[in-house]
Amino acid sequence: MKAYAVNHPIGDMIRGMLPAPWAAAANGALAVGLIAGLVTVMAIFLIWLERKVCAHFQARLGPTRVGPFGLLQPIADAIKLLMKENLRPRGVDNLAYFLAPLLPITGSFLVLAVMPFDHDLQVVDLPAGVVYVVAVSGLGILGILIGGWGSNNKYSLLGSMRSGAQLFSYELSLVLCMLLIVMASGSASLREIVLAQQGTVLDWWIFKLPVAGLLAFALFMISSTAELNRGPLDLSEAESELTGGFHTEYAGISFSMFFLAEFVNMFASAGLGATFFLGGFLAPRFGVPPLDWALALLPGVVWFFVKVFALIFLYMWFRWTFPRLRIDHLLSLEWKFLLPVSLANLLLAATLITFKWMLP
């Protein structure tokens, strides 16, 4: 286990100034602060992006009047939500009702702790990073479940039960996809997974394992859409059926926690996708020296964000195109289709890896 500094000069400086354990702690705190700040800003930006992209998918303009290009729109929303009356509906389970909004956002921030943003920008590199990711991302669902239970509202309860069933199912194929990557890279550390993809673009896991990689990527995108509760698999919210789903009774700041968690989650999920399949922070290389040199000029963190945003665009594209599935279709899709396919794919990948039938 190794905690990385924010970057070399600052990290080295801290290490030089303080005794070793303190330096590690200081470095960690700095990285946490930096990443948390960065991601919060990014999530707010994502809210804007979602509204803009959605608008342009629908032949309209989206927010234009608050700040340049409506960029300040989510900030206005955030301030307003913070200043809203905080109410407690009658009959709610106090502890559950107030604890629930904190869990999803905690879970999604915890995932970011192991996310390699750049060569040296990572809070902590756990050897069992993938296991950790799977474990902490379960916190989000816990929040939704107890929130729906605690709200004393049938719609909320229905929504949370739906999301319980949905998330536990889709977790399976998601984990199987991750397992495939762990198998291919020979490590469960996210940093190692990225570094295992060094080389050209063809060394990314999406391409390197013929068919299996692409299939795993598709499965990952579908399952993570379900995990994120985003359309077309947003059954726990399902506005047209359950008015607001699990967050029907939430207002003001508690609602904003759910709202923000959705976007931080999306960011984390896309980050995992980029890490597993698209070479994470590695600059794309095409085997053409001048081009590769030019592309490598940009720091890794920029490449990481470019990949993340490409995946986020894909999520948005799904959401604004497809209608919602029904709960029983959703579950049978997972159990009758995605899960067998994931297993078969895992087998295929195992074969490919064993016999080294990979792209050079």
Binding site: H56, F57, Q58, A59, R60, L61, W317, F318, T321, F322
Partner: protein, 169 residues
């Protein structure tokens, strides 16, 4: 289901057979066809985001300068006044009677010549349905439909208007 379905007339196009790739049974062909259809659907949305010219939004209030409503647009009842500030209302109350909502009150007065003339043409925009019946009823062309629409207010008071600027002749 009960009873047999009578066969529809021969001319009628059939809306009851689902459009689906393949022969209707689960098959690889149907699966692939569905996948292609999903991608085509994504293509439809993508065409919009690719071409900003397909954005149709009219930016009110930025476009106030160029905003144009059709000639017949019914926004509110207005009473045209000529250069002397005179109108052509004779207080015949036909519009008042034609109004289905009681939005018009014709209040009459006697002028110095002891003639019965219009004192106040009360028009309650607050209850007007802009149905055009008063305009059609008016034999003197005294009222028209105007295009004003920026009428939102903080209270109901400014919505109860008096249309005539001065008494009738």
């Amino acid at each position: 289901m009960e009873g047999e379905m009578p066969q529809p007339a021969a001319s009628a196009p059939d809306a009851g057979t689902p459009i689906m790739p393949g022969d209707g049974k689960p098959s690889l062909r149907r699966f692939l066809g569905d996948a292609v259809n999903m991608f085509k659907g994504m293509g439809v949305t993508f065409r919009y985001i690719r071409k900003p010219s397909r954005v149709v939004t009219r930016e009110y209030p930025e476009n106030r300068e160029t905003l144009k409503f059709p000639e017949r647009f019914r926004g509110q009842v207005i009473m045209p006044h000529d250069a002397n500030g005179d109108h052509t209302c004779t207080a015949c109350t036909l519009c008042e009677k034609a109004c289905p909502n009681g939005s018009i009150s014709i209040l009459t007065t006697k002028n110095t010549a002891s003639k019965r003339v219009l004192g106040a043409f009360v028009y309650r925009l607050s209850s007007c349905t802009l149905c055009n019946l008063c305009i059609e009823a008016c034999p003197f062309d005294a009222i028209h439909m105007g295009a004003g629409f920026e009428m939102a207010s903080y209270s109901r008071e400014p919505l109860d208007l008096i249309l005539n600027k001065k008494e009738g002749r």
